[in-house]
């Protein structure tokens, strides 16, 4: 199943500000770039020498923050009641 189809299944209460706070100053030094593959919804993409971060579809697992070798990712909670709302969970 394609990721887009998967995300279409989930319910999100959309919020405006990106809750993924990333300092990209070390990204070029980072050879592994684990955020680009551990994210279950591909919110991190390396494109043309820089990190493109989207927060749409974020399932709030926090894996990106844990794997960043430079501790430059902070996953904030989306504003109260916003973000993903699992109907099954």
């Amino acid at each position: 199943m394609k990721l887009e189809e998967r995300l279409f299944l989930d319910r999100f209460n959309v919020h405006e500000d990106n809750h993924l706070i990333v300092d990209t100053s070390k990204c070029t030094e980072c050879s592994l770039k684990p955020c680009t593959f551990v994210c279950p919804v591909d919110d991190y993409n390396w494109d043309g020498g820089k990190l493109i971060i989207s927060y749409e579809g974020c399932l709030e697992c926090g894996a990106c923050e844990v794997v960043c070798p430079f501790d430059k990712i902070k996953v904030m909670s989306p504003p109260a009641g916003k973000g993903v709302s699992f109907r099954f969970g």
């Binding site: 199943m1 990721l3 894996a63 923050e65 844990v66 909670s77 109260a80 009641g81 973000g83 099954f88």
Partner: protein
Amino acid sequence: MHADGEKFDAIVVGAGPAGTTAALTMAKEGMRVALLERGEYPGAKNVFGGVLYRWPLEEIIPKFWETAPLERQIVDHRFMVMAKDSGLLMSFKVDGKDKAPYNGYTAIRAKFDRWYASKAEEAGVLLANSVAVDDVITENGKVVGVRAGQGAENELYASVVIGADGVNSSVAVKTGLRNPPDPDEVAIGVKEVVELPSETIEARFNLRKGEGARMETIGCTHGKMGGGFIYTNSSSLSVGVVILLSHLMELQMKPYTLLDEFKSHQMIEPLIAGGKAKEYSAHLIPEAGYSRLPRLYGDGVMIVGDAAFLCSYPEGTNLAMASGMIAGKAALHAKKNNDFSANSLSAYQKMLAESYAMKEMKRKSSSHKQLIQNPRLFGVYPDLVGELLADMLHINGELKSLKHKRAIKKFRQKIGLLRAIRDAYSARGMAP
């Protein structure tokens, strides 16, 4: 709220199984408790692939199974050893033990957690949904409240704060009780809920009406620590894969690729065929093990459940509830003595150490470490099992005695007797 003197006895951050249990335990004995949940309802941020065991919930809500929104009673325990092109499935049922009240149930957490929190409300707990706690308030090193946004109107004060805010707990980190997890302290789980008619589920899993199966699989994580699972709900299956985050980093794979591989395996595909995907979710699971458990209390604060890394396969929700219950009892004791200092709240960790929950975690401790360092169990063994059985079960005119000799040779080459003994010893914590 501090200014006009209004103050709760306890604030519980997070309305999952640990937090709701703590809140309920305290409110039942008359404490004034606020239960704060960042999701729009309890369960909105939670992901479950597992069994909700009767213990210790029935101590908190006797005969909960008569009213709780449960999916299926688990009567069939299935374990699978999977290789790329083969699978060995074991299924275990026992008559007599597996009858009402059942030992464990599957549950849809968005329903269950909401029901459970409503029980806490009935006991007098103030449940506030859509409240995202982002900091704790301290005075002279003692935790005195929480902050959910900017400004005094978003401050709430209490004699004790209980952090039940999950694996990514801000209470645990802000109070300095533990650091954010390292990649070898958590696994990532990705899961789909796949809808199927209940009769189809019963036919495919060899179940009677209302009965359920749990199925856990090793050998589907490219030789890394982790596994796959299917849990049967009433009219859906929870299908997912879990892998230690540091091992996923070594593989450099996307977690949903592992899920796709698992779903398309010949042992899994027929079980979910024709099902309609209803939800995709992901969550971190504490895998720190006993040796890296943090201190669970401080001045005016305790941490419970996933926030305290209290999780150990195949048990999570019950350890969460057990820790919530014991923390609640420690808070009641503290209230009685009007002493919420670290010294007073240390009773929580002492009581927990004597509990089943902590003793189980301790038992698995060294085994857990060995499995992380040396995950042969998750790759080398499943592959060998598949290879040997395929050879043995394939009748082609070659004498079995020759096949047996070949099997022994392969076993010696790939593993060796001494190593097998060592591996069996390190796998003891996996034993159900």
